[in-house]
C-alpha cells in the first residue's frame, strides 16, 4: 500500500509539477477564451502551449515519482472548513497519477496540434480550442485529485465539456441531438457516482483519497457500505465509460469533430471511469459483489461492442464501438485484479488504448480530410474512404499500425496490454479471489474466456475496417471516389477560411501539422510494450505464454476469418463479374437481420426509448397538462375576473362631473361617519 509523505528531497518539485499539470491547461482555456477571435495564431499557440506546458509538468512529476511507490499529497487551494469537517482539496502525486497525466497531456497536445490544421476553416475555433484545454484540465484534475470532491468537480466539468464539443457543429441537428444524448446518458450514471462519493464520505468521514485508502480506514467500513459505494461508483463509470447498458451515447458522439472523438475516447472522458476505479481499487477489493457486477458488465460490453463494431458501415462508428470494447477490457482488468498485481494491467490497457485509439481517430480524420466522409464501403455505394492507399499512403500505413495494435498483433502495444489483462484474469481464475474465498474464480474464467473470444472478433472487425479502407478497388480509379489523386508529399493547397470545407479541391494534401502528429502518436502505439520493462506502470504485470499464444492465435484467426469472409461475401454479390465486385464486405456473410441488429447496437436505443425516454416524455406531458390546465387555470380565472370587473366599473365612467363629485361627497360622508363610529 502506498504511503503518504509530506517531506523529502524533491517534494517541492513534485508538488509544483502536480499543481502546474492541473492549473496550466485551465489557464490556457481561460486565456484562449479572451483572445480576440481573429488572432487565430495566438489562439492556437495558447492551446498548444497549454498542453505542452502541462506535458512538461507531467513529465517532471513522473520523473520525481516514477521510481518509488510513495504518494505525495499536495495542497492546491488549502483546506476548506465546512460545518461537518474540513475538506482538504489536495492533489496527489504518485506513479499512477503521473503516468496517466503524461498520457493525457500527450493526447491533448496531439489533439491541439492536429486541430490547428483540421479546424482551420472553423469559424468557432476559439471556442473549440478553449474547451479542449478545459476538458484536458478537468481530466487532469480527476487524475491528480487526492480529494473526492475535487475528483467530482473534474468529473462534472468533463461532462459539460463533452456536451460542448460533441455539439460543436451546432448548426447540424444530429450534432445537437448527440450532444444532448451524451450529456443526459452520462448524467444518469453520474447520479450514481455522486451518491457513491457521498456514501464514501459519510462512511469514511474523510474526503481525502489517501486517507480513505489507508488500510485502517477501509477496515472500519462495513461490507454493506463498501459494496453500496462501489456499486454506485461503478454506475457512474458505466455511464462515463459508455459500458452496457449506457453505451448508446458513444457511437452517436461521432457527430463531434474527429479530434474531439480522439480526445474523448483516448484521453479524457471514457478513460476517466477506468482511472477512477483503478485509483479506488482498494475500496473495490473490499466489495467482491461489486467486482462481480463489474466483471459481468465489462464482459457483456466487451463482446457485444466488438460484434457491433463488425457490422458498422462508418469508420468512426467502428472505432467508437471498439472503444467500448477496449475500455471493457480495462474494467475487466480492474474487476479481476488480484491483490498482488493491483491495477497495473488495467492501467497498461488504459495507456496503450489511449495511444492507438488517438492514432486511429486522427488517422480517420486525416483520411476523411481528403474525401469528406468517414463512410466505409465499395466505391459504387457512394463517397467512401475506400482506396486510401492510393491517396495517402503514409496515413494508410499509420492506420494499419493502429488497427494492428487494436487487433492485438504481437509486437504492438495492444497485444501487451491485452495480455496483461488476460494474465490478471488467469491469475484470478487459477489462484482464487482477493481474500482466498474463491469469489473471483468464476469472474476470472469469465473474463479470460470472453476476453479471448473478443480478441478474435476484434481482429476480425479491425481487418474488415482495413480491407474496406486501405486497398484500392482493383479496377476503379481512385479519382472516382470524389477526391483528387494527390499524395501527402504534394504541397498543401492554399487554405482560405472563407471557403467551406466541402470543396474537395481544397485540403488536397494532409497538412504537416496533422501528419507529424500521427507519426508522433505511432511511436507509443508501437513501443508501449516497453512500459513493461520500465518502472512506469504501478504494480506488476503477469504474462503467461499460454494465454499469449492463445490470444495471438485467435487474433490471427480473426484476421484470416475476415479475409475468408471477404472472399465468401464477394461470391454472393449478384452479378459480381469484375475483380472489384468479387471482394465483398466481410459483414455480408451474416444474415441481413443479424447485420441490422448489430449495426443498430442491439436495439438498445429502442429499449432505452421504451424504458426511459417514453416514460419521461409521458411524465413531461402530464406535468404540462397539470401546469396548463390546473395551475394556469387560477391565473386565467383571475384575468377573467379582472376583465369582467373592468366591464362593470366602466359603467360608472359616465363623464358627468357632477356625478363624480357627488360620489366623492358621499364617500367623504361615509369616511367621516366611519371615523366617528369607529372611535
Amino acid at each position: 500500500m502506498n504511503t503518504v509523505v509530506a517531506a523529502g528531497p524533491d517534494v517541492g518539485d513534485i508538488a509544483w509539477a502536480a499543481r502546474f499539470v492541473v492549473v496550466l491547461p485551465a489557464l490556457a482555456a481561460l486565456a484562449g477564451a479572451v483572445v480576440p477571435r481573429q488572432y487565430r495564431t495566438t489562439i492556437s499557440a495558447v492551446g498548444v502551449g497549454g498542453a505542452l506546458a502541462a506535458l512538461l509538468a507531467a513529465v517532471t512529476e513522473l520523473a520525481g515519482t516514477g521510481g518509488s511507490t510513495v504518494a505525495h499529497s499536495v495542497a492546491l487551494l488549502g483546506p476548506a472548513p465546512t460545518g461537518a469537517g474540513t475538506i482538504d482539496l489536495t492533489l496527489r502525486a504518485d506513479r499512477l497519477s503521473a503516468v496517466v497525466a503524461v498520457m493525457v497531456c500527450v493526447v491533448a497536445l496531439a489533439v491541439q496540434v492536429y486541430s490547428v490544421a483540421y479546424q482551420c476553416d472553423d469559424q468557432r475555433y476559439r471556442a473549440f480550442a478553449s474547451v479542449v484545454s478545459l476538458f484536458t484540465a478537468a481530466m487532469l484534475l480527476v487524475v491528480q485529485a487526492d480529494d473526492l470532491l475535487l475528483l467530482l468537480i473534474g468529473w462534472e466539468v468533463m461532462g459539460l465539456c463533452s456536451y460542448l464539443l460533441i455539439g460543436h457543429d451546432s448548426e447540424r441537428r444530429a450534432a445537437r441531438h448527440a450532444a444532448v444524448k451524451a450529456f443526459l446518458v452520462t448524467r444518469m450514471g453520474d447520479v450514481g457516482f455522486v451518491l457513491g462519493i457521498v456514501t464514501l464520505l459519510a462512511a469514511a468521514d474523510t474526503s481525502s483519497v489517501s486517507r480513505l485508502l489507508e488500510p485502517g480506514t477501509l477496515e472500519r467500513l462495513s461490507t454493506a457500505q463498501v459494496t453500496a459505494a462501489s456499486l454506485l461508483l461503478i454506475a457512474g463509470v458505466v455511464g462515463k465509460s459508455a459500458q452496457l447498458p449506457l453505451q448508446t451515447w458513444l457511437p452517436d458522439a461521432m457527430e463531434g469533430p474527429t479530434p474531439v472523438s480522439a480526445l474523448i475516447h483516448a484521453a479524457t472522458m471514457v478513460a476517466a471511469g477506468g482511472y477512477v476505479l483503478a485509483r479506488l481499487l482498494p475500496v473495490l477489493a473490499q466489495a467482491p459483489a461489486a467486482r462481480a457486477v463489474l466483471a459481468v458488465v465489462a464482459c457483456a460490453s466487451m463482446l457485444a461492442a466488438a460484434l457491433a463494431a463488425f457490422a458498422q458501415s462508418d469508420l468512426k462508428r467502428v472505432l467508437a464501438w471498439s472503444t467500448i470494447s477496449q475500455v471493457a477490457y480495462l474494467l475487466a482488468g480492474i474487476a479481476v485484479a488480484p491483490p498482488d498485481l493491483g491495477a497495473a494491467p488495467a492501467v497498461m490497457q488504459l495507456l496503450s488504448h489511449a495511444a492507438f485509439k488517438s492514432l486511429l481517430f486522427l488517422c480517420a480524420g486525416a483520411l476523411a480530410y481528403r474525401v469528406h466522409t468517414t463512410a466505409m464501403g465499395r466505391v459504387a455505394d457512394g463517397p467512401s474512404l475506400a482506396g486510401s492507399w492510393a491517396r495517402s499512403p503514409v496515413t494508410s500505413v499509420l492506420l494499419t499500425v493502429g488497427l494492428a495494435a487494436l487487433a492485438g498483433v504481437p509486437p504492438l502495444s495492444g497485444f501487451w496490454s491485452k495480455e496483461a489483462v488476460l494474465g490478471a484474469a488467469e491469475v484470478a481464475a487459477l489462484d482464487g479471489g482477493v481474500d482466498g474465498a474463491g469469489s473471483l474464480v468464476w469472474a476470472g474464467w469469465l473474463v479470460l474466456v470472453v476476453g479471448l473470444v473478443t480478441g478474435f472478433v476484434t481482429a476480425a472487425y479491425a481487418t474488415r475496417a482495413w480491407m474496406l479502407v486501405v486497398p484500392s478497388p482493383a479496377d476503379v480509379p481512385a479519382e472516382s471516389s470524389g477526391a483528387q489523386l494527390v499524395t501527402d508529399d504534394s504541397p498543401p493547397a492554399e487554405l482560405l477560411p472563407s471557403v467551406p470545407r466541402r470543396d474537395p479541391l481544397l485540403h488536397a494534401a494532409v497538412p504537416p501539422a496533422m501528419s507529424w502528429t500521427l507519426l508522433g502518436l505511432a511511436v507509443p502505439t508501437v513501443l508501449a510494450g516497453l512500459l513493461l520493462i520500465g518502472p512506469v506502470v504501478p504494480g506488476a504485470i503477469h504474462l503467461s505464454s499460454l494465454t499469449g499464444a492463445l490470444a495471438t492465435t485467435l487474433a490471427l484467426a480473426g484476421i484470416v476469418a475476415a479475409g475468408a469472409a471477404e472472399r465468401f461475401a464477394g461470391r454472393r454479390v449478384p452479378g459480381g463479374a469484375s475483380a472489384a465486385d468479387r471482394r465483398g464486405d466481410p459483414v455480408l456473410v451474416l444474415p441481413a437481420g443479424v447485420r441490422a441488429f448489430l449495426a443498430g447496437g442491439f436495439g438498445l436505443d429502442a429499449v432505452h426509448h421504451a424504458l426511459v425516454v417514453a416514460p419521461t416524455r409521458l411524465l413531461a406531458r402530464g406535468v404540462t397538462v397539470g401546469d396548463h390546465d390546473v395551475v394556469d387555470a387560477y391565473p386565467r380565472g383571475g384575468a377573467l375576473l379582472a376583465r369582467w370587473a373592468g366591464v362593470a366599473l366602466r359603467l360608472t365612467q359616465t363623464g358627468r362631473t357632477t356625478g363624480y363629485l357627488g360620489a366623492l361627497a358621499a364617500g367623504a360622508v361615509v369616511v367621516a361617519l366611519a371615523g366617528v363610529g369607529l372611535r
Partner: protein, 121 residues
C-alpha cells in the same frame, strides 16, 4: 371665550352652500366657487378648534395655511381648465362636457377626437 356653536353653525352653512354649488350647479366656475366654500368651511373649523383646544403647536392654524396654499394652486389649475374648456366648446356647462366618459362622444353629438385632430395633418 366665545362659544363654539356660532363658528360650527357657520361652517355647516358654508358646507351646505358649497355642496349645493358643487352638486347642483352646471357652470364650472360656480362649481369651483362651491369647492372654495367647502375648503373655507374646513378652514373655519380648523381655526376654531385650534383656538378652542389651545393646541401648543397650533397645528390647526398651520393646516389652515396649507389648505389656503393648496387651494390657491388648485384654483389656478382649475381656472386654466375652465378657460380651455370654454375655448374648445364655447360654454362651461359641465353637464354637456362628457367627452371623457365611456362612449360619451356619441351621446354629446361631438365628432370623435382622432377625426378632429386628423384634419390639420
Amino acid at each position: 371665550m366665545i362659544h363654539l356653536w356660532p363658528a360650527v353653525l357657520l361652517a355647516c352653512v358654508l358646507v351646505g352652500a358649497g355642496l349645493f354649488g358643487v352638486l347642483a350647479r352646471r357652470n364650472a366656475v360656480l362649481v369651483l366657487i362651491g369647492l372654495e366654500l367647502l375648503l373655507n368651511a374646513a378652514n373655519l373649523l380648523l381655526v376654531t378648534f385650534d383656538a378652542a383646544y389651545a393646541d401648543r403647536l397650533h397645528s390647526g392654524q398651520v393646516l389652515t395655511l396649507f389648505v389656503i396654499t393648496v387651494a390657491a394652486a388648485e384654483v389656478g389649475i382649475a381656472l386654466a381648465v375652465v378657460l380651455l374648456l370654454f375655448r374648445r366648446r364655447g360654454d362651461v356647462d359641465l353637464r354637456r362636457a362628457r367627452e371623457l366618459g365611456e362612449a360619451s362622444a356619441e351621446d354629446a353629438g361631438i365628432p370623435p377626437e382622432p377625426a378632429a385632430s386628423a384634419a390639420p395633418r
